[in-house]
Amino acid sequence: MQNPWVYLGLFLLVGLLIPIVPIAFAALVAPKKPNPIKQSTYECGIETVGESWVQFKAQYYVFALVFLIFDVETVFLFPWALALNAQNPAVLPAFIAIEGVIFILILLAGLVYTWRKGLLEWA
């Protein structure tokens, strides 16, 4: 196929449909005898106490913020990694490498800051 993205679109479609096949087949073959006790929440085998959709304290939300910064900025590193190998006589490859390294160091300064601030401790 000429366009890889059309192929990928078809692939995603079929890839989503194929896992449905065993579930649909099981729905046809398996017995269906629901009752309220069988359908109650299992949890750990003991009857559920209180509301199930409860709130938890997500202690790692600071990690999540740091992750967000890194995840966005690593995307910029992929083009850099490709540009490093580009055959361009006008620029020295070492020059491109140093530029990327400066970018990574700025990125790491953020990590060092959060680390020194004590935000990477489990509180």
Binding site: Y7, C44, A81, L82, L84, A94, W122
Partner: protein, 398 residues
């Protein structure tokens, strides 16, 4: 070009001539042939998945000094068949309080996210779904869908333990995606392309990337195990603490899909290690780059080997506590990964136009040096901590 060197092209041409001979439009025939190819590829992956159930059960039995399945067929090889029959004829229970749509969608997405990865795996030089020029980014994106499926399962189950498991999975994901992306940047940097086929070709012409970047391979292995949610990072399941994490409420075939997805995911990442760092279709048998069947065999052998390594880690190392896991990532893996990226980039830029031997030696030595420095820093820290703990407590004055 004949059937043995490029089977896909030969079959494609033959089907194209047949279908257009029946009077079908060219573009329609193209789509139908590609659909057939996709279905064959995914079915092959599913059959492999069924075999993996047996492999997993047999290997875990050997690690635990048991025999494992050995009744159904030779060496218990047909054991997965009764397993699947059992899963299919089990009653499918949806808990009363669950969010039905999300609950049923989660196992489908969980397996689908793994199947998506098979679109970009180059099984041999000419046998692959599609040669995307951004395959590595696609890999990360498809991995995120798997995490999403786990969060959906945990949230929709209407169950505190499942929700806790899903939260933990978020913690693992937000941690280990960074070292994973950086580990993926290293083959990109060395090969100058993000396409899996291009990376394999670069290793075929030069050196394997495991020689150029052994530390990168180890980083990718650790990040992959975390991404898979396998022990020692299986906090989202944690049988002994939160029953079984995100899939407590699932029964029958829906649980089966989670299980199948996990096994195939592990094998797929094993294959990725083989392709990105160990030369893909080039070894152990010769002519893997010429003959398609030999290439497929080589990729599967490497995938199986690294799948075994992942199992080896799983059944050897105990589960980490969540704060240890986050600290291990943010205070160790992430700095090491970025240091490795910096070193690799500079050494690569300086030495890439020199002779292959000099280039390889320089990168390898740089990796060894970095690894040694990291180990020394770790050893120094451990010594300090030990000294702090062993210091005699100040005697109370009377």
């Amino acid at each position: 070009m004949n059937f043995w060197t490029d089977p896909i092209k030969v079959i494609y041409d033959w089907l194209m001539i047949t279908l257009t001979g029946w009077g079908m439009a060219g573009w329609l025939a193209d789509i139908i042939i590609n659909l057939l190819g996709i279905i064959v590829l995914i079915t092959a992956a599913m059959v492999l998945d069924i075999l993996l159930v047996w492999v997993e059960r047999k290997v875990v039995a050997r690690f635990q000094d048991r025999l494992g399945p050995n009744r159904v067929g030779p060496f218990g090889l047909f054991q997965p068949v009764p397993d699947i029959i059992k899963l299919i004829i089990k009653e499918d229970i949806t808990p009363a309080g669950a969010d039905k749509v999300v609950f049923n969608l989660a196992p489908i997405l969980s397996l689908a996210s793994v199947i998506f990865l098979w679109a970009v795996i180059p099984l041999a030089a000419n046998v692959y779904g599609v040669d995307l020029n951004v395959a590595l980014l696609y890999l990360v994106a498809a991995g995120a869908i798997g995490t999403l499926a786990i969060i959906m399962a945990g949230w929709a189950s209407n169950n505190k333990y499942a929700l806790l498991g899903a939260y933990r999975m978020v913690a693992v994901m937000i941690s280990y995606e960074i070292p994973m992306i950086v580990a993926l940047l290293i083959p990109t940097l060395l090969a100058g392309t993000m396409s899996m086929k291009g990376i394999t070709l670069a290793q075929q012409e030069g050196l394997w990337f495991v020689v150029l970047s052994p530390l990168g391979m180890l980083l990718f292995l650790v990040a992959a195990i975390a991404e898979l949610g396998r022990s020692p990072f299986d906090l989202s399941e944690g049988e002994s603490e939160i029953v079984s994490g995100f899939h407590i409420e699932y029964s029958g075939m829906k649980f089966g899909l989670f299980y199948a997805g996990e096994l195939l995911h592990a094998f797929t990442f094993g294959a990725f290690i083989g392709i990105l760092f160990f030369g893909g279709w080039n070894w152990p048998l010769p002519w893997g780059d010429k003959y398609a069947l030999i290439g497929i065999f080589n990729v599967l052998v490497k995938g199986m080997f690294f799948y075994w390594v992942i199992m080896w880690v799983k059944y050897t190392v105990p589960r980490l506590r969540i704060d240890h896991m986050l600290a291990f990532n943010w205070k160790f893996l992430t700095p090491v990964a970025f240091a490795l990226l910096i070193v690799t980039a500079i050494v690569h830029a300086i030495f890439k136009d020199m002779a292959l031997g000099v280039y390889g030696l320089a990168l390898f030595l740089a990796n060894v040096l970095l690894g040694w420095i990291v180990l020394e820093i770790l050893r120094g820290n451990a010594r300090q901590q030990r000294a702090a703990e062993e210091a005699p407590a100040p005697v109370a004055q009377h």
